[in-house]
C-alpha cells in the first residue's frame, strides 16, 4: 500500500519555524502510522525524531496529532485513515506542550500537573496486618480511570489548556478521580477540596475533546464530572460551579424549564449579577431581546418536581 505522510518537522538548531515535509512509503495493509514514521526514519531520513516503544498501545509513548486529532501512532491504522479521511495523512507533534524536535514535545507540564493531584494512596489509621480489602464494585468504577497510560493525547486536545496553561487538565483530573474514589484512601475530603480549587474540575468546559482523544476509553471529562458530583455530595457547594448546578436544578424542578435570568442571578449572587449583567441587559433592551421576565411553568411541572424528589434532588 502506497502511503503519503506529511510530517511536521522542526530542528531547533537549524529551523526558525516548523514546516511540513512529504514522504512516500510502502506499507503492508495492516500498517499503522507509526510503521510509516519508522520506515521514513530507517530508509529516508535518520534524523526524524519521535517517541515510541511498545507498538501495542500500552506504553503511551507515541501520542501525536494525526490528521489534526491526537491519537497513538501505533494504534492508528493507515488503511482506515485513507478510507475515512483521505489519501494524504498529516502528522504533527501534540498540542498544548512545547516542541523539542519534530514530533517530540516537552512533557514536564504534563507530569507537574499529574504530581499536583497527589497521585498516590494516602491511607489513614493503623496499617492492617494483611492486605487492605476492597469490594469488587468499588474498584470497577475506578478501573476505567486506571486504564490511563499517561500518553498525553487528552492534554494535547484540551480546549481549556489552549487558553489557560494553569488548568490542571484532563489527565491529572482523571487521576484525581482515581484516588478520590479509592476506598483505601484516607484523605477524600482534603483531595476534593484541592480538586475544586480554581484551575480544578470546575474549569472544564465539557467539550468532549479528551473523551474523543483518549485511546483507552478513560473518558477524562466524565471522570471530571464524577469528581464534581463527589465534591457536591461531600458538601463542597460554595463554588460558582456548584451554585450554578444547584440553581439550574431548582429552576427545572420548579417549572420544568430553565429560567435563564434566575440562573444568572443565583450563580453570580444578586449584586455581582447586577453589576456584571446590567450592561448586557441594557444592550438587550435596545435590541428587543429581553428574555421573558415572567418565567412560565409547564402544565405538568408537578410531575417533574416529583421525579426530582424521588431521586433526592
Amino acid at each position: 500500500m502506497d502511503v503519503t505522510l506529511k510530517v511536521k518537522r522542526f530542528d531547533p538548531e537549524t529551523d526558525e519555524a516548523a514546516h511540513f515535509e512529504e514522504y512516500q512509503v510502502d506499507l503492508p495493509e495492516y500498517g499503522a502510522v507509526l510503521d510509516g514514521l519508522l520506515a521514513i526514519r530507517d530508509e529516508q531520513d535518520g534524523s526524524l525524531s519521535m517517541r515510541c516503544s511498545c507498538r501495542s498501545a500500552i506504553c503511551g509513548s507515541c501520542a501525536m496529532k494525526i490528521n489534526g486529532k491526537s491519537r497513538l501512532a501505533c494504534k492508528t491504522m493507515v488503511s482506515q485513515l485513507k478510507e475515512l479521511e483521505g489519501d494524504v495523512i498529516s502528522v504533527e507533534p501534540m498540542g498544548n506542550q512545547p516542541v523539542i524536535k519534530d514530533l517530540v514535545v516537552n512533557m514536564d507540564m504534563f507530569w507537574d500537573k499529574v504530581n499536583a493531584v497527589q497521585p498516590y494512596l494516602r491511607p489513614e489509621g493503623p496499617v492492617p496486618e494483611k492486605e487492605y480489602l476492597v469490594s469488587n464494585e468499588s474498584m470497577m468504577e475506578l478501573a476505567v480511570a486506571m486504564n490511563c497510560i499517561m500518553c498525553g493525547a487528552c492534554v494535547s486536545d484540551c480546549t481549556v489548556l489552549e487558553v489557560d496553561k494553569s488548568f490542571l487538565g484532563p489527565a491529572a483530573l482523571a487521576k484525581a478521580f482515581r484516588f478520590a474514589g479509592d476506598p483505601r484512601d484516607g484523605h477524600k475530603e482534603e483531595r476534593l477540596q484541592l480538586y475544586t480549587e480554581p484551575n480544578g474540575v470546575w474549569d472544564c468546559t465539557r467539550c468532549f475533546m479528551c473523551v474523543s482523544a483518549c485511546p483507552k476509553d478513560v473518558a477524562p471529562m466524565e471522570r471530571i464530572m464524577d469528581v464534581r458530583a463527589m465534591a457536591m455530595e461531600a458538601g463542597l457547594v460554595n463554588t460558582r460551579g456548584a451554585r450554578h448546578v444547584d440553581a439550574f436544578a431548582s429552576s427545572v424542578k420548579h417549572s420544568g424549564r430553565l429560567n435563564e435570568l434566575n440562573l444568572a442571578l443565583k450563580t453570580f449572587g444578586f449584586i455581582r449579577a447586577g453589576i456584571d449583567l446590567a450592561p448586557m441587559g441594557i444592550r438587550r433592551l435596545f435590541k428587543r431581546r429581553l428574555p421573558p421576565l415572567m418565567h412560565k411553568k409547564i402544565a405538568t411541572a408537578k410531575n417533574i418536581a416529583r421525579l426530582f424528589d424521588k431521586l433526592g434532588v
Binding site: 475515512l84 480546549t159 481549556v160 489552549e162 487558553v163 489557560d164 488548568f167 480554581p198 470546575w202 474549569d203 472544564c204 468546559t205 465539557r206 467539550c207 468532549f208 475533546m209 473523551v211 474523543s212 464530572m225 464534581r228 458530583a229 457536591m232 463554588t239 460558582r240 460551579g241 450554578h244 448546578v245 444547584d246 439550574f248 436544578a249 429552576s251 427545572v252 420544568g256 424549564r257 430553565l258 429560567n259 435563564e260 435570568l261 450563580t267 453570580f268 448586557m280 444592550r283 438587550r284 435590541k287 428587543r288 431581546r289 428574555p291 421573558p292 409547564i298 402544565a299 405538568t300 410531575n303 417533574i304 416529583r306 421525579l307 426530582f308 424521588k310 431521586l311 433526592g312 434532588v313
Partner: protein
C-alpha cells in the same frame, strides 16, 4: 416529514430570535413540527453532574411524550439538547434493565418509553431527510460571494459513537459546509470550527471563556469570513452576546456577525431581516444583510 419538536429553553429566552426563525424556515422546507408542550429541560449536561438517573428519567419522559403522539423522530434546534438526548437514548437502548427501572418512575404519570424514538437536529434533518439537492432548488437568493465560517459546537460533534458518526453518518461533521455550499455561499476552513465556544465556563472562569470567543471569531475574521454560522444557541449566546466583552479583553475590534443555522437558510430562501430576527443580535449583522441583499421586512 413530521417531527416531534423540542425547541430547547434557550431558543425562546436567551436567543429569542431563534424560535420564530427556525419554525418559519421549517414550514417553508416542509418540515411539520409538532411541539412537545409538556416536555422538560433536557438538563443541558449540567443537571447530570448532580444526578445522572434524573437526567435519564427526564429525557425518557420527553421521548415517551413523543411516542404517545405517534411520532418516531424527535427534532431539536439546540445542539446541547440534541447531545444530551442522543447520549441518554443511546444508554437506554443499550441497557433494557435500566430502561425498565426508569419506566417505573414514569409509570406514575402514565407514561412509558418503549425505546423507539430517533433523535435528530435540524442540521441533520436538512441534509439527511430534506436532501441538499431539494434545498438547492428552494434557494431564491443564493449567498453568492458570501464567505461563511461554520461553527459546530461540541455536542453535535462528540462523542462520535453516541451521535451515529462511527457508523452510517460519518460526515455529520461536514454538514454545515454542505449546507453553506448548497445555499450558494463559500464555507471557510479554520481551526476553531470544531472547538468549544466557551459558554459552559462563563459563570466559572469568564476570562477563559472570553479568550475562546475572541480566538474563534478573530480567526474566522482573518480567514475573510463575512459571518459565522452555528447550529447551537449556546454557542450563539457566547459568540454573539459576549463578543463585545471578548473584543475588549483581546484589545481589538471583532464585529463578526453570528447567525443561527435557520437564519442563514432563511436568508437564501427569501425571508426578510425582520422574519429572521437578524436585527435583534448583539453584534450587528448589517455587513451580512447588505451583502446578501435580503429585504428588511
Amino acid at each position: 416529514m413530521r417531527y416531534a419538536f423540542w425547541p430547547g429553553c434557550v431558543s425562546r429566552a436567551g436567543t429569542p430570535e431563534l424560535y420564530p426563525a427556525a419554525t418559519a424556515v421549517a414550514e417553508k422546507i416542509g418540515m411539520e413540527l409538532i411541539e412537545l408542550e409538556q416536555a422538560s429541560c433536557t438538563g443541558a449536561g449540567v443537571l447530570g453532574e448532580r444526578n445522572e438517573e434524573l437526567v435519564d428519567t427526564l429525557n425518557a419522559r420527553n421521548f415517551a411524550l413523543a411516542e404517545q403522539m405517534g411520532l418516531d423522530t424527535l427534532l431539536t434546534i439546540c445542539s446541547t439538547c440534541q447531545g444530551v438526548m442522543s447520549s441518554v437514548n443511546y444508554k437506554l437502548r443499550e441497557k433494557p434493565d435500566y430502561l425498565a427501572k426508569i419506566n417505573e418512575s414514569l409509570a406514575e404519570e402514565g407514561l412509558e418509553y418503549k425505546g423507539t424514538v430517533r433523535v435528530t437536529h435540524m442540521m441533520w434533518a436538512v441534509v439527511e431527510e430534506l436532501g441538499l439537492s431539494n434545498l438547492k432548488e428552494m434557494v431564491v437568493r443564493p449567498l453568492n460571494g458570501l464567505k461563511i465560517a461554520p461553527f459546530y459546537g461540541c455536542y453535535i460533534l462528540r462523542p462520535r459513537y453516541v451521535l451515529g458518526m462511527n457508523e452510517e453518518h460519518a460526515h455529520r461533521d461536514q454538514y454545515l459546509e454542505y449546507i453553506i455550499e448548497a445555499l450558494g455561499g463559500e464555507p471557510i476552513d479554520y481551526e476553531g470550527k470544531l472547538r468549544c465556544c466557551g459558554f459552559p465556563i462563563m459563570t466559572i472562569n469568564e476570562a477563559n471563556g472570553l479568550k475562546m470567543v475572541s480566538n474563534h471569531t478573530l480567526e474566522a475574521k482573518d480567514m475573510g469570513a463575512h459571518a459565522l454560522v452555528t447550529p447551537c444557541p449556546l454557542c450563539h449566546l457566547n459568540l454573539d452576546e459576549f463578543q463585545p466583552k471578548a473584543a475588549k479583553s483581546a484589545g481589538k475590534p471583532i464585529n463578526m456577525p453570528v447567525l443561527h443555522l435557520p437564519q442563514m437558510i432563511g436568508t437564501a430562501l427569501g425571508f426578510s431581516v425582520r422574519d429572521m430576527g437578524l436585527q435583534r443580535h448583539i453584534v450587528s449583522t448589517e455587513p451580512f444583510i447588505e451583502l446578501s441583499g435580503m429585504p428588511r421586512r
